[in-house]
């Protein structure tokens, strides 16, 4: 199996546990007794951009949410930099799916970004000027500082996505978990997110990103996890992102498979 191969090759195997951003052991999650993810295990190396790909219903969102203990696990264990999530929560930044909230809520973009600092500000203490300044800096990093005072329903989809990204950035975490940040965004936003990811990587941070567009996987990610209820394979993109693996992951889904083969063909041509 490819899995064992790539695991033995993985560069972090001799790293101390505290330096591995995320390790997942034998994780199983079930809704109403029906398993959604089954016996999933992997490590991700530090300072890498990691993409999770898999068909709809493969359990990608569930995996991320279980890592953050938003969903109870049936069995298994998750470590963040060698410790349980609760101990290292401050080192994790979360970018939820854009559709997960009501954008008609009466707050502006800056308010949303400051929410990333609420934990740091502490219970019952008000948001202060220095916090707003930091939030504004984060909005600047994602390129929408001009829209800071705009009510969030008046932002475009891409700007909303960037607001969520800024809310995670403001925390200055070491591991970022992102649930489809590229879903239905404009080209400018896609570019901005890719650039932020690159900056993160240069700063030695790690990002785990759920991704749908197979075409861009080799370009965006160093490392890939192919998920369809189980981990089909994981490892450096060049080794793991192969037509055979994609067929296993998306088995039977013809259109996606065609899309994947097309990607592979193009990649081979460009090499």
């Amino acid at each position: 199996m490819n899995t064992t191969e790539s695991m033995s090759q993985s560069p972090q195997s001799d790293l101390p546990a505290a330096e591995i951003p995320l390790s997942v052991y034998d994780l199983t999650v079930a809704y109403h007794r029906k398993p959604v993810i089954w016996d999933v295990g992997f490590d991700i190396p530090p300072g890498k951009l990691v993409g999770i790909v898999g068909p709809n219903g493969a359990g990608k969102s569930t995996l991320i949410k279980t890592i953050m203990e938003l969903i109870p696990k049936a069995s298994g264990r998750v470590n963040i930099f060698g410790k349980p999530y609760q101990k290292n929560r401050h080192r994790v930044g979360y970018v939820p799916q854009r559709e997960s909230v009501d954008w008609d809520f009466p707050v502006n973009a800056l308010d949303v970004v400051t929410m990333g600092l609420y934990r740091e500000i502490g219970w019952c203490f008000p948001v202060r000027k220095k916090h707003r300044e930091r939030a504004l800096e984060a909005l600047e990093r994602v390129g929408i500082a001009d829209y800071a005072r705009r009510q969030i329903s008046q932002l475009s989809g891409g700007q909303q996505q960037r607001t969520f990204l800024a809310r995670a950035l403001v925390q200055n975490a070491d591991l970022y978990l992102m649930d489809e940040p590229f879903a239905a965004v404009d080209a400018a936003t896609e570019k901005a997110i890719v650039q932020i990811l690159q900056e993160m990587k240069q700063a030695g941070k790690t990002a785990l990103v759920i991704h749908h567009d197979l075409q861009t996987v080799p370009e965006y990610f160093d490392y890939v996890i192919l998920l369809n209820m189980r981990v089909i394979d994981h490892g450096p993109t060049a080794d793991v992102f192969t037509p055979e693996n994609l067929q296993k992951t998306y088995g039977g889904r013809l259109t996606l498979l065609e899309e994947a083969t097309e990607t592979m063909r193009r990649r081979e041509q460009s090499l």
């Binding site: 009466p106 929410m115 609420y118 019952c124």
Partner: protein, 500 residues
């Protein structure tokens, strides 16, 4: 917001029922005086007594209901944003059996069965049991929350009514007055009751102020709050607890049927006035306070009308005003913005029409001239599906902005500022067209219509982006049209409809 509007409409429909019923009942209760059956016009003395807050009890009662309204507005804005408003309704209906049972127990023990703290304690216990029932049904069965709400609300309310019937038969105490919890009656409120209500309301507001940012986060993005380690379940319980307290203390003044309105209507009305959280709470607090204050004052003037109905009617009045006149979300301002946009679109169409006509006839003035050749209205009419009256109206509006002038009855001329504006409009239109053709795979035959829909609302940043994307550095001035503009010739009597 449509959900809130619906809730308010529902309340509106339900209002006349309780009003009539209660009026009838209060008539029954005071049968010693037949005139009490009708709602007589209060004397000047009555007005003066209430409005000048002459008597101590009225003063305290109005203060109590004002504080009640304030806390309901504050807690209600969170409950509304958390989409828990109907939970509050089920809760308030579920309090009725508790009230009746508390009365029975207190009377048999020889206590004063009508003491407010005792009755409210009973109400709170039974209300919490109701919520527990909802949660149980939701978690143990596959029924959805709305079904659970409906079941608990009606079963508890029905049980309460039955228990009230039993209470009426009891010889122990005078049960008369317990029904006032259904429709609300400030007349039965004594000073100590008002103090209890006021201080509980204030405490609720204080707690919600302390947890302001945590509760806001809970309402906006529960998942994110959870991921950051905020105890979401605890926060949710605190919010629900605040709703419980506000509902319970509102039972006497507003009544359990209408209590939900005081939680929902002020924040729903406030939403029309603001896009921010803090102002939303403040406006909701003010509207709640006014509803409580004016409503209970009215009820002191018309003692036979249930105060709950009064308070709700005042709140509803303010809701309607907010819905129509609210800025920035009210109906009028939205209509006005729509109208403004239409005017702007029409004006831009006119300018572009004139410009493209001049361009096609090679009559565009150079840099140095200060005269723009006139264009006949009949030529313009052929360029779009304009009727003459509409065209004249558009021209009038543009004249007011000094963009065009009519040189004669049938001749239109761009002013210099009009020419500049027209050039800008044409430029933006063509930018957008070019973008659609280049990047959005829209066939050039269709592009003009698509460009039309969006170009008028393009923001300056987008224009700059488009320019950077599409125009080479060297290009200066106005873009050429990416498709052929087919202008009807002046000579041809063609009546072709809509064109560039």
């Amino acid at each position: 917001m449509s959900r809130c509007a619906l809730a308010v409409l529902l309340l509106f429909l339900l209002l006349p029922g309780p009003l009539l019923l209660a009026a009838e009942e209060s008539g029954f209760r005071s049968q010693q005086s037949i005139t009490d059956r009708s709602i007589s016009m209060p004397s000047w003395q009555d007005w003066k007594r209430v409005l000048l807050l002459e008597d101590y009890n009225t003063r305290i009662v109005i203060l109590g209901t004002t504080l009640l309204g304030m806390s309901a507005g504050m807690i209600g804005s969170f409950a509304l944003l958390r989409k828990r408003a109907l939970m509050g309704d089920a809760l308030s209906h579920a309090t009725l059996p508790g009230i009746a049972i508390a009365f029975i127990i207190a009377s048999t023990l020889g206590l004063n069965g009508k003491s407010l703290p005792i009755l409210l304690a009973g109400a709170a216990i039974s209300g919490l049991l109701g919520i527990a029932g909802i949660l149980l049904i939701r978690n143990l069965t596959r029924l959805k929350e709305d079904a659970a709400l409906g079941i608990v609300l009606s079963v508890f309310f029905g049980a309460g009514i039955a228990l009230l019937g039993i209470v009426q038969q009891m010889q122990t105490g005078h049960a008369a007055g317990l029904e006032s919890f259904i429709y609300g009656k400030t007349a039965s409120m004594v000073a100590s009751d008002a103090w209890l209500i006021g201080s509980a309301g204030l405490s609720c507001m204080l707690i919600s102020l302390l947890l302001y940012k945590e509760l806001t986060l809970l309402c906006f993005d529960e998942g994110f709050a959870d991921s950051r380690g905020f105890p979401v379940v605890l926060l949710d319980t605190i919010l629900m607890g605040l709703v419980v307290v506000v509902t319970i203390i509102g039972l006497q003044a507003v009544g359990l049927i209408l209590m939900i309105s005081l939680l929902v209507i002020p924040p729903a009305a406030a939403r029309f006035w603001t896009e921010k959280m803090a102002p939303l709470s403040i406006v909701a607090v003010v509207l709640g306070a006014l509803s409580g204050m004016i409503g209970s004052a009215m009820s002191a003037i018309f003692p036979n009308l249930p105060s709950g109905a009064m308070i709700v009617l005042v709140a509803t009045g303010m809701f309607l005003i907010s819905m129509v006149c609210g800025v920035p979300r009210g109906i009028l301002i939205r209509k006005y913005r729509r109208y403004e946009l239409n005017t702007k679109v029409n004006r831009q169409h006119l300018l572009r029409g004139v410009y493209e006509y001049l361009e096609a006839h090679r009559q565009l003035p150079g840099e140095d001239t200060d005269q723009v050749p006139p264009v006949s209205l009949s030529a313009l009419l052929k360029m779009r599906s304009w009727t003459l009256p509409l065209l004249r109206k558009i021209i009038q509006q543009a004249e007011r902005e000094h963009l065009v002038s009519l040189t004669s009855e049938d001749q239109l001329q761009l002013t210099l500022s009009g020419l500049k504006e027209a050039a800008r409009v044409v430029h933006e239109h063509r930018l957008w067209e070019l973008y659609l053709i280049t990047y959005a795979d829209v066939a050039s035959s269709k592009v003009d219509q698509d460009a039309d829909a969006i170009e008028h609302v393009l923001e300056p940043e987008v224009i700059a982006e488009l320019e950077a994307l599409l125009i080479r550095q060297s290009t200066v001035g106005i873009l050429q049209s990416p498709h052929e503009i087919d202008l009807p010739q002046d000579t041809s009597p063609s009546t072709t409809g809509r064109q560039a």
